[in-house]
Symmetry: C2
Subunit: 123 residues, 2 copies
DNA sequence: ATTATTGTATTAAGTGGTTAATACAATAAT
DNA sequence: ATTATTGTATTAACCACTTAATACAATAAT
């Protein structure tokens, strides 16, 4: 988890996205404990306030539960996590298709291109 | 061209992307004249300084040419535009595939999903 | 020649994100 | 009981982006 943070967008939104990604991909399994705000901030090399801001948002979304003085953990609701994963995937696909169409590619061209690039990646 | 500007990223970078998109997709054909900075700024509902910043960057990239007192125009080098289009497409595809893999999808799953969604869009 | 339009530059103010340095309350660990 | 760790809150400073208002030089249009 190399915490890829760019400077072209607010850091806290990037933290939200990356932590969410770690949750839905199973890096942090349902019910597992998260490191403390301070530890996560140090790990990501950001200010604790910034990490806090990201975690609060994830809690509002229901993916994370806060236990006041004993840290935070991932929700045990595996269905909710699966739903988040599906939603993220659909967003990715539709954004991708929309962008490619704006670029001027027809649907069959898009399929051809992506088939070709997937084959490339298998090497 | 409804100038979709969100507040989660610098506006001038979004302007760059959208103008580039209009160039490679042919909204602004090679050699055609661009509206003045002030007009484009008003059209996009941004400050002229912000639009200026975006146009300067596009000129550095070679897609736009400045004629000091008679406005700007799109480059007549169609090859360069085609190259930009291809580059943008490849970026879209690789970013998409990378994100889907991070989400935990296998390559054959990605192909299945996108085939399915393309069929949906044809309706 | 005069006027209008072009890109460009400057200065000041406002805004939001980030960092830093602290502090506090609750409670788990000892 | 005491200590350490937890999330949380506050304040100030800094920085990049954005807007606003204005001005200037070059030149196309009249």
């Amino acid at each position: 988890m190399p915490w890829e943070l760019k400077s072209d967008r607010p850091i806290y939104t990037q933290l939200i996205e990356q932590i969410e990604l770690m949750i839905v991909s199973g890096v942090y399994p349902p019910g597992s404990k998260l490191p403390s705000v301070r530890d996560m901030a140090q790990e990501a090399e950001v200010n604790p306030n910034t990490m806090q801001k990201a975690l609060v948002k994830l809690e509002e979304d229901g993916l994370i539960i806060t236990h006041r003085t004993s840290g935070r953990s991932i929700t045990e609701d595996a269905t909710m996590i699966e739903r988040a994963k599906t939603k993220l995937a659909q967003e990715q696909v539709s954004e991708f298709l929309e962008k490619m169409q704006l670029l001027g590619f027809e649907q069959h061209e898009i399929l051809t291109i992506i088939n070709h690039m997937v084959k490339e990646m298998k090497k």
